[in-house]
């Protein structure tokens, strides 16, 4: 037995032979013609054969064998891209050349198509091929973006142009197909990223987001996107979701604020960031140095710690001499056992969908992206997003599950971008001493009006509700981000100098705050956080923070705010049914159930009481969520820490429910944050606020413990609601005698 027979081939040898013979028949570099690429006699037919192999073998049998062979045969770079680069721009008049180019483009689209298999469908050969193909696709992307002679993407755009020039009514299905091929190819290129868990041995910068954006800019892809998006609805219909995907993969994770900063401000912000990081590092190092040993590591000190009942514990190392707190830590830290943790099932591991990963852009890419985003907002935002909303509402055939999520994420992104731009314009106008009177067109919010209507809110509410019911957290995350951003935009709108805008903002707020289901949902989300990951946690705390703040403000302005609430009338109805007797119960049961449901659904209006609503946020579940958030304190920004600070402040001092916070783990966390080790950096501007809050809280706790020693035990647990009043005041609440 030879070695070759020992190794099981990854691909059926016959398949490999077929594919390789086709690939070699397409063409090759010619020795006669100075090494240029020469097409084979039947190149077009061969290209079609390759396509047939991929469609008929790979896709039909749910395998990746042919694609693997093509990747190993260097088909994309060696043949397809060579053909694309072969002819000059004007050669597309020739129908044969046009056909060959189109076939190449289609194959490129197929090869770069995202390879994914659902976890339940994974077979052995999938496990074999997928990692290789992911790497191969990263290679394709690099070759496409940085081909040395041809502008591949521009070529793709040009191939689609004749079809796009035809008015929509006269377009053949074939023309639509060509447009689709080109757009999907662009989508694939935008989507491919360095595989997360494989060692990519090229330069990652070559296929980074910055490189993608720069190439898109240089090869006029952005122009194409703007053209299609701005005439969405009249000239283009089916293409909206593809465009949505392209935008999503281009923009996800890009920091909007940084994007819209002026160069000077950005440099300043970057310097500030660097300074803060260096300060943090310095504080960390000095923290270590304070406790570092002053002699060599074999000096061998051993310390006894006397404890109650005549017992001692020992700690070794001279570090701990005279540092009681340090000894306590060492005794705790040297324990070997860790409480077993469940694997996070709630966190989605799909990095293609994940928009919480921050992306860094280099300076030119940022500039190019910014000008694209500005043009997009000016020309295409409203048509594209209204059109998409209709498609999603209608549940059109082309809309898939993931598109709603992308839709809402992009709304939040663009709203943020528009607000950032507006602020930038205002700042510039102010710095120019208002030499030019502010243009009222610039001031109006008409550019984002497409998503600020009742239909979008209804869709968003339904989306959030359904993703919450389905436990699809990443979707809910996008929904929350979108809702937060809408609230912020409305807020900005109500502060606008134009009177119409104020009216509209008032109107929108009225509608948002009118539905009690919205209030309940936000409360529900905050209460029910459990292991959904940091991005989700950040989104849900931000949403409740922003929502509560704006609701407070709004209800102060409109003292007689009404909300529509659903009244429950089940109990009364049941009592009625029992009174009627059980004689004719059977046939009326069904009818009655319906009626009961009807009654339950009846809604009433009632006056909104902000104090009562906000007190619902001061429950143990909400506190637990915010504690989980605060546990990340070392990585949180000033704003995020402020959010947590406000929340705890409201709970402890405004609503006088500090009792909820009297729990040892919470106190331990707060103590660690302020007093270290590894605490909050004292240089942060929010540090003072936190220190004051914690100090006040600690004072309250120690006082209370002395007053009521039974708290010592209760502090170990979450409080029982009934006992909280007694613990706080020392006597029972009078109301309880009502029963």
């Amino acid at each position: 037995m030879s070695l070759d027979e020992w190794v099981t081939p990854t691909v059926d040898p016959e398949v490999r032979a077929f594919v390789y013979s086709i690939v070699s028949a397409i063409g090759g570099t010619s020795a006669d013609e100075d090494g240029t690429y020469v097409l084979g006699d039947d190149a077009l037919a061969c290209l079609k054969d390759v396509r047939r192999w991929i469609k008929g073998f790979d896709q039909k049998q749910n395998r990746f064998d042919v694609q693997r062979c093509l990747a190993e045969a260097n088909f994309a770079k060696g043949d397809l891209l060579e053909i694309m680069a072969k002819w000059p721009e004007n050669s597309m008049e020739d129908p044969l050349k046009y056909k060959v180019l189109l076939a190449c483009l289609e194959l490129l689209g197929l090869l770069t198509w995202p390879v994914e298999v659902e976890e339940t469908q994974m077979r052995v050969h999938h496990h074999r091929h997928l990692p290789y193909l992911h790497l191969a696709q990263a290679g394709y992307k690099r070759d496409i973006l940085h081909h040395d002679r041809a502008n591949v993407l521009e070529r793709a755009v040009r191939l689609a142009l004749p079809a796009m020039a035809v008015p929509r009514k006269e377009r053949e299905p074939r023309d639509d197909g060509v447009i689709r091929i080109a757009l999907y190819f662009i989508r694939n290129v935008a989507m491919i990223s360095v595989p997360a868990n494989a060692a990519y041995d090229g330069d990652e910068a070559e296929i980074s987001r910055s490189a993608t954006i720069s190439t898109f800019h240089a090869q006029n892809v952005f122009q194409l996107l703007l053209t299609v998006a701005s005439s969405m609805g009249d000239e283009f219909v089916e293409q909206d979701v593809i465009l949505l995907e392209i935008l999503f993969h281009l923009l996800k994770g890009v920091d909007v604020e940084r994007l819209f900063m002026e160069e000077e401000a950005r440099t300043k912000a970057n310097t500030q960031d660097l300074r803060e990081l260096m300060q943090k590092e310095k504080a960390m190092l000095s923290g270590y140095a304070r406790h570092a040993p002053t002699r060599h590591n074999r000096f061998g000190t051993m310390i006894w710690v006397k404890r109650a009942d005549e017992r001692v514990s020992t700690v070794s190392g001279q570090t701990f001499l005279g540092k009681d707190q340090k000894i306590m830590e060492q005794m705790d830290g040297s324990k070997k056992w860790n409480k077993p943790r469940l694997r996070n099932r709630n966190v989605e591991e799909d990095e293609r969908k994940d928009f919480d990963i921050k992306v860094h852009l280099d300076a030119p890419a940022r500039k190019q992206l910014r000008s694209f985003v500005e043009e997009f907002l000016d020309s295409s935002f409203n048509p594209l997003f209204t059109h998409l909303r209709r498609a999603i509402e209608r549940e059109a055939h082309r809309v898939e599950g993931v598109h709603s999520m992308q839709y809402f994420y992009l709304i939040s992104w663009f709203l943020q971008a528009e607000c950032a731009r507006r602020r930038q314009i205002q700042k510039n106008a102010a710095s120019r001493q208002a030499s030019t009177p502010a243009n009222s067109d610039d001031e109006s919010f008409a550019l984002i009006a497409g998503v600020m209507d009742q239909e979008t809110f209804v869709l968003l509410n339904r989306f959030m509700q359904s993703s919450q019911d389905d436990k699809s957290w990443q979707d809910l995350n996008a929904g929350m981000k979108c809702f937060t951003q809408i609230l912020l935009s409305v807020q900005e709108m109500s502060e606008s100098s134009v009177e119409d805008d104020q009216d509209i903002a008032e109107n929108i707020q009225n509608r948002i705050f009118y539905e009690e289901t919205t209030h309940d949902r936000i409360l529900y989300i905050l209460r029910n956080y459990k292991d959904q990951g940091f991005g989700y946690l950040d989104a849900c705390t931000e949403l409740s923070h922003v929502f509560l703040r704006m609701l407070e403000r709004y209800s102060k302005q409109n003292v007689d705010l009404q909300v529509r609430s659903r009244r429950r009338a089940r109990r009364k109805k049941n009592a009625d049914a029992q009174a009627n007797g059980e004689a004719n119960a059977d046939e009326e049961h069904a009818e009655e159930a319906e009626e009961v449901a009807d009654v339950q659904r009846t809604s009433t209006e009632r006056k909104f009481d902000f104090a009562r609503f906000s007190s619902k946020f001061s429950t143990q579940a909400c506190v637990n969520t915010f504690v989980a958030f605060t546990k990340y304190y070392r990585d949180l920004s000033n704003d995020q820490l402020k959010r947590a600070h406000r929340f705890f402040y409201r709970v402890a001092f405004k609503q006088d429910l500090a009792m909820i916070l009297y729990r040892v783990d919470i106190l331990h966390l707060f103590n660690k944050m302020i007093k270290g080790p590894e605490g909050l950096s004292t240089e942060m501007s929010i540090f003072q606020d936190w220190q004051e809050l914690v100090r006040q809280l600690f004072r309250k706790v120690t006082k209370k413990v002395q007053e009521r020693p039974e708290l010592m035990v209760e502090m170990l647990f979450s409080k029982i609601p009934n006992t909280m009043f007694y613990l706080e005041h020392g006597y029972e609440r009078e109301l309880q005698t009502r029963t």
Binding site: D332, V664, L667, H668, N671, F698, V713
Partner: protein, 120 residues
């Protein structure tokens, strides 16, 4: 027939004695309610805990936390402080613990009224 008989009875086979693992001590409500558990904590807090008051919030809190840590180390040396706290917090949701907790809370209530006896 004698040999087959012995085989059927299983006399000839060696009995395998599986050595049982030493069970790992658990931090459960029994342990928490034992003498080293909450009763001890209550005793400690009455006897030893003194606070300095205003101006010493952080040192007071450190002392309080250290008390808990040492108590927990005696009760269940296996777990780190934070882990132990999480376990105990979870235990507090059981029915038995809730009853005991209410009992401790209302123990030295000034005037026990009639209808609240149900809570005890």
């Amino acid at each position: 027939p004698a040999t087959s008989n012995a085989a059927a009875l299983g006399i000839d086979e060696e009995i395998k004695v599986a050595k049982k693992r030493q069970p790992i001590a658990k931090l459960d409500d029994a342990r928490l309610l034992s003498a080293a558990g909450i009763p001890k904590l209550r005793r400690i807090s009455k006897e030893r805990l003194k606070f300095k008051g205003k101006g010493h919030e952080f040192s007071d809190m450190a002392r309080l936390l250290n008390t808990y840590q040492l108590w927990l180390d005696d009760l269940y040396p296996r777990a780190k402080f934070a882990d132990g706290l999480a376990i105990i917090e979870k235990l507090g949701h059981t029915k038995r613990m809730q009853m005991m907790r209410k009992e401790w809370i209302y123990e030295n209530r000034p005037k026990p009224s009639v209808e609240d006896d149900t809570a005890v």
